[in-house]
């Protein structure tokens, strides 16, 4: 992950998402599949907040975003719960 996605208390900590997706309890590949569906429901430039607790999602969603051409603005991990703020770029 790049510098803008590390840590949970960055200057981006108060990002207001345009949509939210709850993937808690879902396992690979569902967090990626659901995130892809939801990001297509927001506009380019808007932000999707995704929560997940499948440990595979940490690596998977970061790599999916890069491959799909979107930007993980921020990543936060608290215990098993991970939160991604993903900006739709195209």
């Amino acid at each position: 992950m790049d510098a803008t996605t590390e840590g949970g208390t960055s200057y981006l900590s108060d990002i207001a998402p345009d949509a939210e997706l709850d993937c808690v309890g879902l396992y690979c590949p569902l967090p990626i599949a659901r995130t892809k569906e939801e990001i297509e429901n927001i506009e380019v430039g808007q932000v999707l907040k995704v929560e997940a607790d499948d440990p595979a999602a940490e690596e998977d969603i970061a790599r999916w975003a890069k491959r799909a051409g979107h930007q993980v603005l921020k990543f936060d991990k608290s215990g098993n719960l991970m939160t991604f703020w993903i900006k739709r770029l195209k």
Binding site: C28, I32, D54, P55, A56, E59, D60, R63, W64, R67
Partner: protein
């Protein structure tokens, strides 16, 4: 630097198939090549806590020793934890050196690697 990705689908029930990715990966590191092993399907049984200690075949050292050597050399390990659901295994019972990852990661690693070798 070049990267080789090894995909291990075979498990401890076929011990003769478990050594190669670690030995190749350790050798790759000695050749200044990045080495990654992705464990999936039965391959995940190799990284279950306490399993590698039980594997030793022929004149080879124990599988545990070969794994430790690979980790020390900088071979990166990824594990498809979702494969546990094929066999009724419990999640989260794996050595901590392996990073839990999934389908997106394997696809990404394979495209980024210069070569993919499957066991």
């Amino acid at each position: 630097m070049s990267t080789i990705l090894y995909v291990q689908t075979s498990g401890v029930d076929t011990p003769e198939r478990t050594y190669a990715p670690f030995i190749l990966g350790t050798t790759a590191r000695a050749m200044d090549i990045e080495a990654e092993i992705f464990f999936m399907i039965k391959g995940i049984t190799i990284l279950k806590k306490g399993e590698a200690e039980k594997v030793k075949i022929g004149s080879f050292p124990s599988l545990k020793d070969v794994i430790d050597q690979a980790i020390k050399a900088g071979v990166k390990l990824y594990i498809c934890e979702q494969s546990t659901q094929l066999f009724g295994m419990v999640r989260g019972d794996f050595i901590p050196d392996a990073k839990v990852a999934g389908a997106g990661t394997l696809n990404d690693l394979s495209l980024d690697a210069d070569s993919v070798i499957t066991f």
